[in-house]
């Protein structure tokens, strides 16, 4: 159990570091994958709603403190996203990679929709920015992130060394 916790803490920290250091390097035409959402997705889908909510909240808050944005915007978006992903908990339903990818796409749309709505409400951006943002920003980002997440499936499919007892 402890090793699981440590593993996920490391995974979140590494993704946070990579998101700020490595991801800008691999951006294509300004489109960058969101590793934090990808890792949050894999975490919440494994552990369910409650861990998803708390981890999403902490991650979002960390992101808010780290980046100069509205305090609470990422926390709110990621909390809801964590809860949303947790609904598709693997203990309740078995999902294959294709379904997971569709879910991940939905997760991105949910996350960005909340994020943009908060922006509309707090800053007063026009409502049209939500739709344009979802179409021009979220979709390419989601597709790129799905491509990055696909590497995880490839890694899972690789033959693992067996332990003889």
């Amino acid at each position: 159990m402890m090793s699981d916790v440590a593993k996920w803490v490391i995974a979140f920290m590494v993704s946070l570091i990579l998101q700020t250091s490595f991801v800008p390097v691999i951006s294509i035409a300004g489109v960058k994958p969101d590793l934090l959402i990808v890792v949050l997705f894999f975490f919440s889908i494994k552990y369910g709603v409650l861990p998803g909510i708390f981890v999403g909240f902490v991650l979002g808050l960390g992101q808010d403190l780290y980046s100069p944005s509205l305090l609470g915007q990422n926390a709110f978006a990621k909390t809801i996203t964590g809860a949303f992903i947790g609904l598709f908990n693997e203990r309740m339903m078995r999902t294959d990679p294709l379904v997971k990818n569709v879910l991940l796409l939905m997760v991105f749309i949910v996350h960005d929709a909340i994020f943009l709505i908060v922006q509309v409400v707090t800053i007063g951006d026009p409502v049209s920015t939500v739709f344009s943002g979802l179409f021009f920003h979220t979709l390419p980002r989601a597709l790129y992130s799905i491509a990055v997440a696909a590497l995880f499936y490839v890694w899972e499919m690789l033959p693992k060394p067996t332990v003889r007892r």
Partner: protein, 277 residues
């Protein structure tokens, strides 16, 4: 109150979502000043350990970098220090040589040994003066201590010196005290000896100087010291072991004595004699 707790426990997911969402909304709805304050408090309390860790890591990294830089600096300074010591020694040697050249009546051409024979015993050396400096074959070569050899081949800017350690190089010398003449020779480049007549007045410690009879070296150049006398049954000769004055392994600067061989004036007669043979 119990009802609320029971509600929270029974609807844990919903209540957690509610609490975190409310906390987020509260943060969002707060003023910019309040947001900054909350951010500061959270940063200090939550992220301080991580920040501390990263700072320490950066510090260690800096220490490593500084350590490496200092090591490079030490290596550089060591090289410079060694160079300074070397320059100082060279300075001393050159000053000593300058003194010698002032005492000497011949013209001395200072030269640096640039190549040494790589064999176990270096029998020849190349110096950085040649024909362009007025060097000619058979000119004697000496160090600050004494005779070292002679020029055997002259090129434009360098010359080949046949050292005394070459078994083919035999030098006419004499005992400074008694003027007994002999030939300084070696068979292996290490042990030098002179075969004197059995009744010659030679003693251990006697100084040997060039006799000037060979026609190449001028008279009076220091050549070595007698270290041992081998009394044997030979009624005609006795062997005197000699320690040469020059350390041929550590020869760096030399002088070429600018003088023609003493037989140069009679060269035409010598050549005609040779041809007549």
């Amino acid at each position: 109150m119990q009802w609320i707790i029971r509600f929270f426990v029974s609807h844990l997911n919903m209540s957690s979502l509610l609490v975190t969402s409310v906390a987020s909304i509260l943060m969002l709805s707060s003023t910019q000043v309040q947001q900054q304050r909350i951010a500061r408090v959270l940063t200090i309390s939550v992220f301080y350990p991580f920040q501390f860790y990263f700072n320490q890591t950066a510090r260690i990294k800096n220490i490593y970098a500084e350590n490496r830089r200092l090591k490079e600096e030490i290596a550089l300074l060591s090289v410079k220090a060694a160079q300074t010591v070397e320059n100082s020694r060279e300075n001393e040697r050159l000053a000593q040589m300058l003194g010698i050249s002032k005492q000497f009546s011949f013209t001395l051409v200072p030269a640096r040994v640039v190549v040494r024979d790589p064999s176990f015993v270096s029998r020849s050396a190349i110096v950085n003066v040649g024909g362009s400096d007025g060097i000619l074959p058979s000119m004697p070569v000496m160090t600050g201590r004494g005779v070292a050899g002679k020029i055997v081949l002259v090129m434009g800017h360098m010359s080949l010196v046949q050292l005394l350690v070459d078994p083919a190089n035999r030098t006419s010398v004499m005992i400074g005290r008694t003027r007994e003449v002999g030939i300084l020779e070696t068979t292996d480049g290490n042990d030098f000896f002179i075969m004197f007549r059995a009744h010659a007045d030679v003693a251990v410690g006697d100084t040997l100087v060039t006799s000037g009879l060979g026609g190449i070296y001028p008279k009076g150049l220091l050549a070595g010291t007698v270290t041992k006398l081998e009394e044997n049954r030979d009624p005609i000769f006795k062997k005197a072991s000699v320690k040469p004055e020059v350390n041929f392994d550590r020869m760096e600067e030399v002088f070429v004595i600018k003088m023609s061989p003493q037989w140069a004036a009679f060269k035409s007669e010598l050549d005609s004699l040779e041809n007549a043979k």
